[in-house]
Symmetry: C2
Subunit: 184 residues, 2 copies
């Protein structure tokens, strides 16, 4: 009964990594995927939560603002605002609102493009670049502190496996969406 | 120069997984930690972004609401509102606001505790449980679809390594905070 439930993905509690961990021995490949996602999410959430807290406490900065500045830092030529949306959707930022705030703070400047009047291009100002790089150096120290003890061999192996996962997932995203439009 | 820059964690672009990937051969252990975090974050972000989109399109539900209901589903006895905050801080939810919305929708009910008048206990209603389980089954199908092709051996290995990472990180979080209070 319980195994059938697992196969049918109807086992409750449905989103509990630990309780699912108890099923590891008998788990189906579907179950493995779910356990893996739950653990991946909990790892990144634990680290992100701590970084979010430290950004707020030490720099009075939200993660959404930091990620916004980080994306622009990777693109000195500037980015269209619609390109900034994806990651910010996850960190809970609103692109237009963040752009207004950061422009007011003098960290970013926006210019309209000649070839496309509909979308603005946003770029870091020198002030914004200095501010970001100062915070980013401290941020990197936090990451080193949090992950440092894992061991280099484990880090390399984990990095490699996550790379394979990335390829697998992006392949699914680029594939035509299956019949997930129908509600159950 | 560039290697020194890496050692001093001053290499730019500071938060670009791909460009850092170019340094893999010469990377220090610190650099490995940063590359690993960036890849971990991009993996979970890619998957979370897709799931967020599907929840919105198919169920008109935010990830914050889904995570809120998922946490209560794991705790039929109910949870104090402050226990609901951690994960929701990441998914961008406001506990009080979400509780009000979901209580109004008839998905959750809140009661004050005898032993602690200051905090409410929130629990799923039967209606909320049915609604969550319906969506959660579809949600699990999405995860299976996105991760399924990775291969069972890789999934098990990745799950194990992420478990080690979790232990490492939680050890750091429980340790006394180091001298990261001083701004650079």
């Amino acid at each position: 009964m319980k195994k059938n439930a697992i196969k049918k993905l109807e086992l409750g509690p449905l989103l509990d990594d630990d309780s699912m961990g108890l099923e590891a021995g008998t788990s189906s490949d579907d179950h493995q995927s779910i356990r893996l996602w739950l653990r991946l999410l909990s790892c990144s959430t634990d680290i992100e939560t701590e970084i979010r807290k430290r950004l707020r406490v030490q720099f009075g900065m939200t993660l959404a603002r930091f990620d916004y500045l980080a994306q622009l830092h990777r693109h000195p030529e500037g980015l269209r605002m619609n390109m900034l949306s994806r990651n910010l959707m996850v960190t809970g930022g609103n692109v237009t609102g963040l752009t207004d705030e950061l422009e007011k703070a003098g960290f970013v400047a926006r210019t309209s493009q000649q070839d496309d009047r509909r979308s603005f291009v946003v770029a870091l100002t020198p002030k914004g670049r200095r501010a970001f790089e100062k915070i980013a150096r401290v941020h990197e120290g936090w990451v080193v502190e949090l992950l440092g003890g894992l061991g280099e061999a484990n880090k390399l192996q984990l990095h490699e496996l996550l790379g394979q996962l990335r390829v697998q997932v992006s392949g699914q995203l680029n594939a035509d969406t299956p019949s997930d439009k129908e509600t159950p």
